[in-house]
């Protein structure tokens, strides 16, 4: 029995030494051993093989939606057969549009995790990939064993990191097997600037923080996240607020922070909430009103390895953490874009849109005119009015009313 105990102690000590050498030390000195790269390469090879298995002889699932929408715009469809009169057919057109919206809409699709065209051996995929070959199933089972038994406990130990922000963040990134490619590091934000990025998950913070020190502006969370936030607050300067609080208070605090040039650059996610990384939603103009230099950063995750998207209305923090820890890896690209400044005649909204376009273009994401707040609230009245104004113009333009233009 003693012998066994000794052997176990030996294994344990080897394990500890390995983890120190392979994980802690490199993180402290911010050196990469290239192990992550190698691991990711292997994982890619496995996915390609898996996809090939499925692809053989079959059509891939072509369309995530159920409706093929008409390409014509409202003007063409209605005005075409108007003949200068208001027409019952218009009701038909709008009721059809209404039915399409009920069956499926662009925005809600953005708030559910991106459906993958191939299968990455995680459970989040098209519902139809449940018929697979036995080889694939075997690999999948092995994958589960590896992920749940080997990788997760390893990471769980690492999860409770230490105080120093950089080491902590780098460690954190290594722990979720994060492989981050930083591009254009010469554009990294300096003191006194505002760093602006698109938001997909709390990991965004970790990733950016591993490459530079930031002051965070964020939603105050309860629970585990709140504890982590509190411990961060003790070491560096951060600004925490509540989403529902008024705008002006934030503005004041931000201005104070920027004015003190000695402080760290502020990191802000202007979308206001996590988006699933296929598009960039409307930026809240608050951060852009403050003045100062804006350093845009584009973050794009590689969806093949794991879904970093956190739907806070659906999953709690713990569920999300569990999902992240049991995924293959988090691979992402971070592009530091050249700094931008608000021009004289520009208003905050226009500037925000300009920054957003640049970020979306770099990250290869689409730009939606929608507000991230839609995850929680309704559409603004002004959008609805725009559509109605447009319709009114078509109707009265064709001279039906006869008393001049009324729109």
């Amino acid at each position: 029995i003693e012998g066994r105990g000794l052997a176990e102690a030996k294994i344990l000590s080897v394990w500890m030494i390995l983890s120190v050498v392979l994980v802690l030390l490199p993180s402290v000195f911010r050196v990469s051993l290239g192990i992550s790269h190698f691991y990711v390469k292997i994982v890619i090879k496995i996915f390609e093989w898996a996809t090939l298995q499925i692809e053989e002889g079959e059509d891939l699932f072509p369309h995530a939606g159920i409706i093929q929408r008409e390409e014509t715009s409202m003007e063409e469809e209605i005005a075409g057969q108007h003949q200068g009169r208001f027409n019952l057919a218009d009701v038909m057109y709008f009721s059809k549009k209404g039915c399409e919206a009920v069956a499926e809409d662009e925005v809600t699709q953005r708030f559910s995790s991106e459906e993958l065209v191939s299968w990455n051996l995680l459970s989040r995929t098209n519902a139809n990939f449940h018929r697979v070959s036995w080889q694939l199933t075997l690999v999948w089972v092995i994958g589960i064993l590896i992920r749940y038994c080997l990788l997760m406990p390893f990471r769980a130990k690492c999860w409770l990191g230490n105080q120093v922000q950089l080491i902590c963040a780098t460690l954190g990134v290594r722990c979720v097997s994060g492989l981050v490619h930083f591009h254009n590091r010469e554009n990294r934000p300096r003191e006194g600037g505002i760093c602006v990025a698109n938001h997909t998950s709390p990991l965004d913070v970790l990733i950016l923080a591993s490459d530079g020190c930031y002051s965070l502006v964020g939603q105050a969370h309860g629970g585990l996240m709140g504890l982590i936030q509190k411990s961060c607050m003790q070491t560096t300067q951060h600004v925490l607020f509540d989403r529902s609080e008024l705008e002006d208070r934030h503005l004041v605090r931000k201005k104070e922070h920027i004015a003190d040039k000695a402080k760290l650059p502020i990191l802000i996610f202007p979308e206001g909430t996590c988006i699933n990384n296929t598009s960039v939603m409307m930026f809240k103009k608050g951060s852009f009103e403050v003045g100062g230099t804006i350093h845009p950063v584009a973050i794009k995750y590689d969806p093949r390895f794991g879904d970093a998207f956190w739907n806070s209305t659906k999953y709690s923090m713990m569920t999300y953490v569990f999902n992240v820890m049991t995924s293959w890896a988090i691979v992402c690209n971070v592009w530091y874009l050249p700094p931008m400044v608000k021009e004289e005649e520009e208003d905050a909204v226009h500037f925000a849109n300009r920054v957003r376009a640049v970020i979306a273009a770099r990250g290869g994401m689409s730009v939606l005119p929608w507000d991230g707040g839609l995850k929680r609230k309704k559409v603004k009245e002004s959008f609805k009015e725009e559509q109605q104004k447009k319709y009114c113009q078509i109707v009265t333009e064709n001279g039906s009313v006869g008393n001049g233009s009324v729109c």
Binding site: F86, V91, M92, S95, K378, V379, V395
Partner: protein, 214 residues
């Protein structure tokens, strides 16, 4: 070997009645669950979570149409508070495109159903007639929310349209004749010769599942 699971009987019945394929029904079911937040029924409030619908000027009428019992079952009337998935599918099926293999009678019935759906949208007090006021309501909704548009303009549009409808349905009216309202037969007359099939349908995609045989 065909699909791995056999289609349950009620699914097949739904498919026959509404004309959707079982894959489309599955997809719509997922959408239904999304809208209802995993409940078994949907209420009017659930439609608030559809941003694309906010764009639509007759949003109120469309949502109302989902709960209008006249659309859900033949010979019934009134408003439902909540609808289940079957009702949801029934309303969606009004927007099905015509199929290649339909014969004359089926086509005619199909067309009548779509027009009846439209008619119910206009006839908000359920009395079987579209009165001038109801017509005005529809026009105002379509043009509403616009601060620059005078109420008078909306009215005159509606009145003009109503007069045209009267002339089609009743012919020349005497000076003291009052046009009660558009009945469903008149409504059908107005639409004679106009092709609605291309206007009032939504292209639901036919999705093949990927079947493996090993």
């Amino acid at each position: 070997m065909g699909s791995a699971h056999s289609v349950p009987a009620e699914m097949r019945e739904l498919a026959d009645r509404t004309g959707f394929t079982s894959e489309q029904i599955e997809h719509l079911h997922r959408r239904f669950k999304q809208l209802s937040r995993d409940q078994l029924t949907i209420r009017k409030e659930n439609f608030d979570s559809i941003p694309d619908l906010e764009f639509n000027p007759i949003r109120g009428k469309i949502v109302h149409a989902f709960f209008d019992k006249r659309n859900l079952r033949p010979e019934s009337d009134g408003l439902a508070d909540e609808i289940n998935f079957e009702d949801f599918l029934t309303i969606m099926s009004y927007f099905r495109p015509i199929e290649m293999n339909m014969d004359e009678e089926q086509l005619d019935r199909f067309r009548k159903e779509k027009l009846k759906f439209l008619f119910h949208m206009y006839d908000s007090d359920h009395d079987g007639k579209i009165t001038l006021q109801e017509y005005r309501n529809v026009v105002e909704e379509l043009l509403s929310g616009n601060p620059h548009l005078e109420k008078e303009s909306a009215r005159s549009i509606a009145d003009g349209a109503m007069m045209e409808a009267a002339s089609i349905c009743v012919g020349q009216m005497g000076p003291d004749q009052v046009y009660e309202g558009i009945t469903f037969e008149d409504f059908l007359k107005m639409w004679q010769g106009i092709d609605i099939e291309t206007k009032m349908h939504v292209r639901f995609l036919n999705m093949e599942t990927i079947a493996h045989c090993y």
